[in-house]
């Protein structure tokens, strides 16, 4: 068994890859959604609440209809409703978007847990796997490459979003509203309307991200389902520099980083487990410190964003 050491390393790496692919999906959806919202000049810090509401309602719909995909849709619609609530409050004068986000985080989490209480025990149908590792005979590789359709949808969504932002009237309108409210007003755009749409779509994505949690991985509804993926959305977007394509890499990186601790634990390396868990946060902080400056705004950030003023 001279290759035993090699197999150990490989299985750790494969476990990390597999786990990263799974864990990164909700990250991907919340960050894509938040990118769209922030491109319109609003920041939604409440996606954690939206994510939980999505997870709960998705699970409930899947349970009721027997279709996990209808569950995903239901989660998205719930998320969009939360996005509209955020947008509606923020469109009022003197209402700060960051504060509304924190309020929706508290409200959404509580509401989801409240309404989701009867859902803790029943088992809803799970979203199906896609076996990307079918060509391999290595069981660990096959396990690692067993992914969910939502991941693929998310990855395809990123270039689609980039294309929409640059090649459609609506995309240009969205960027205008996010970059110069004066220009938007001069063009007669409804700033609040555009931002409401962007926040609602952002909420839809976050809701879908939540449905992934309850309907695929971990694949059940519990009160502690989210480990802060929604709260991380804002930092992921900064990490991705407001570029949807970068969101994919950011999500994979964050997924990988949060998979690091459990994967090492699985092969018996248990020390510093929690410190590895903090890796994404430290990484983001380092990135923030490196890219921020008192002398200029964050590069690539929409000019109307409140954290940028």
């Amino acid at each position: 068994m001279s290759v035993g050491g090699d197999i150990g390393v490989w299985s750790v790496l494969l476990a990390i890859v597999g786990s990263a692919l799974r864990v990164s999906t909700p990250y991907l959806f919340v960050s894509l959604g938040e990118t769209l919202t922030e491109k319109s000049g609003r920041i939604n810090l409440g996606l954690e609440g939206t994510l939980m509401m999505g997870a709960m309602s998705g699970y409930a719909v899947a349970l009721g209809t027997g279709s996990p995909w209808l569950g995903v849709l239901g989660a998205g619609v719930t998320g969009a409703a939360f996005g509209l609530l955020h947008a509606g409050l923020c469109s009022l004068p003197r209402v700060n978007d960051i504060a509304v986000g924190i309020a929706l985080f508290i409200f959404g989490t509580g509401f989801a847990v409240y309404l989701g209480k009867p859902l803790v025990h029943p088992v809803a149908p799970r979203l199906p796997d896609i076996d990307l590792g079918f060509w391999s005979s290595l069981p660990s590789l096959r396990a690692a490459l067993q992914v969910n359709a939502l991941l693929i949808i998310g990855i395809l969504l990123a270039p689609a979003m980039l294309w929409i932002l640059h090649n459609t009237r609506w995309g240009l309108k969205l960027r205008t509203v996010g970059d110069s409210a004066d220009a938007a007003r001069a063009l007669g755009y409804s700033i609040n309307g555009v931002r409401a749409t962007a926040t609602a779509i952002g909420g839809f994505f976050a809701g879908v991200g939540g449905a992934f949690l309850s309907l695929y991985y971990p694949g059940a509804w519990t009160e502690n389902l989210s480990s802060g993926q929604g709260l991380m959305a804002v930092t992921l977007v900064i990490f991705a520099r407001w570029n949807p394509i970068n969101c994919v890499f950011a999500a994979l990186l964050f997924g990988g980083a949060s998979a690091l601790g459990p994967a090492l634990q699985a092969v018996g390396i248990t020390s510093n487990y929690y410190l590895y868990g903090a890796a994404p946060y430290v990484l983001t902080l380092v990135l923030l410190i490196r890219t921020s400056s008192t002398k200029h705004r964050l590069f690539g950030a929409p000019s109307e964003l409140s954290i940028n003023k």
Binding site: A103, I106, T294
Partner: protein
């Protein structure tokens, strides 16, 4: 201009009370939809919060740390910083107090306990001063960085209590070394509420006087109101912002230390129960006024305290109190848009002051 604008006068009070009533109404409608009698729920809500000696004591015990974590939002907000790192500062305060308590083993309690509390406050102060410094000198947005700092603090706590400072005598739940029991603080005479309540109320009173009556508070108001005006007046902007952040962090750190020396006797994940986020809620409901923080913390503490009774009487999930708190937060924020629209209050506030 951050969202934590400081408003004074009867108008702010009327809007807040109105917002709380609207939130209660919305909550009542919601419970009516779930098939419960809203008035019965209101009654139990009241009974669970303030209806009996026991419920009042529970309310006060829960309100104490929230007052302190709310100050972690209020004081930096005066300097124009929107800090949401109270949860992390509380954790750091707890860890700091445990380390101090263990180090001071054998010292007289009259000396050790104050030092333990001080250590907790200092740990929290440093913890929140770091994001404030990053803001001042690197332009890092303090709201985002303190959010990250919360996660880092919790990871640090988990790491320390599951290894380096773990008490292996506690097999069920990773818990830190305990502080010597002699250093624990007891309850206020005649009440089964620990002394943390007194610290909380005292901190709010001191904060009120400092922010409103001193030159430091005046300078902070200028800075929080308009950074450029503060610079033009030659105020030491960085020092002011860092001091405000450190004072806020100290308050939250003190909350963590009190949780250790009055409740848990050690640090564990039990420190992370959302006091930091409740503090943000309270700070906004109190509209960044330290005196109003006391009242708002009692309200939020009361709602949390009644959660158990709501669960027993109506079988409501214990998240009911979080839902109501969320409603209140949203309603208070929404009421901001009415500020300055209530003419009759406006003219009065100008004359009264």
């Amino acid at each position: 201009m951050i969202g934590a604008a400081v408003w004074r006068g009867p108008e702010a009070a009327v809007l807040t009370v109105g917002a709380v009533l609207v939130a209660l109404l919305a909550f009542g409608i919601f419970v009516a939809f779930t098939g419960l009698d809203p008035f019965a729920v209101y009654k139990v809500l009241y009974l669970g919060a303030f209806g009996s000696r026991f419920s009042i004591e529970t309310t006060l015990t829960l309100a104490a740390p929230i007052m302190l974590t709310a100050l972690c939002v209020v004081i930096p907000a005066r300097a124009g910083l929107l800090i949401i790192g109270g949860e992390g500062a509380l954790v750091l305060g707890g860890l700091g107090s445990v380390l101090a308590g263990v180090a001071l083993n054998g010292a007289p309690a009259s000396l050790a306990t104050p030092l333990i509390l001080l250590a907790g406050a200092a740990a929290g102060a440093i913890w929140i001063a770091i994001p404030a410094a990053l803001r001042q000198f690197r332009g890092v947005n303090e709201t985002i960085s303190t959010l990250l700092f919360n996660y880092i603090a919790i990871a640090l706590l988990n790491h320390l209590v599951s290894g380096p400072i773990r008490d292996y005598g506690q097999p069920l739940k990773p818990t830190s070394w305990p502080i010597p029991s002699a250093f624990m603080i007891g309850t206020i005479p005649g009440l089964s509420v620990h002394w943390g309540l007194v610290y909380g109320v005292a901190a709010c009173l001191v904060a009120f006087v400092v922010l409103r009556q001193t030159t430091f508070g005046f300078a902070l108001s200028i800075l929080g109101g308009n950074l450029r005006a503060a610079q033009m007046a030659g105020l030491p902007v960085a020092a002011l912002a860092l001091t405000a952040a450190a004072l806020g962090g100290a308050a939250a750190g003190l909350a963590g230390a009190v949780e250790v020396v009055a409740v848990h006797g050690a640090a564990s994940i039990s420190l992370v129960v959302g006091y930091g986020y409740a503090g943000i809620l309270v700070a906004f409901v109190a509209r960044q006024n330290p005196l109003a923080v006391v009242l708002a913390a009692l309200l939020v503490g009361g709602i949390s305290a009644s959660g158990g009774l709501l669960q027993r009487r109506f079988g409501m999930p214990d998240a009911a109190s979080t839902v109501l708190e969320g409603c209140i937060f949203l309603a208070v924020l929404g009421s901001n848009s009415l500020y300055g629209r209530l003419r009759f209050l406006q003219s009065r506030s100008a004359e009264v002051k």
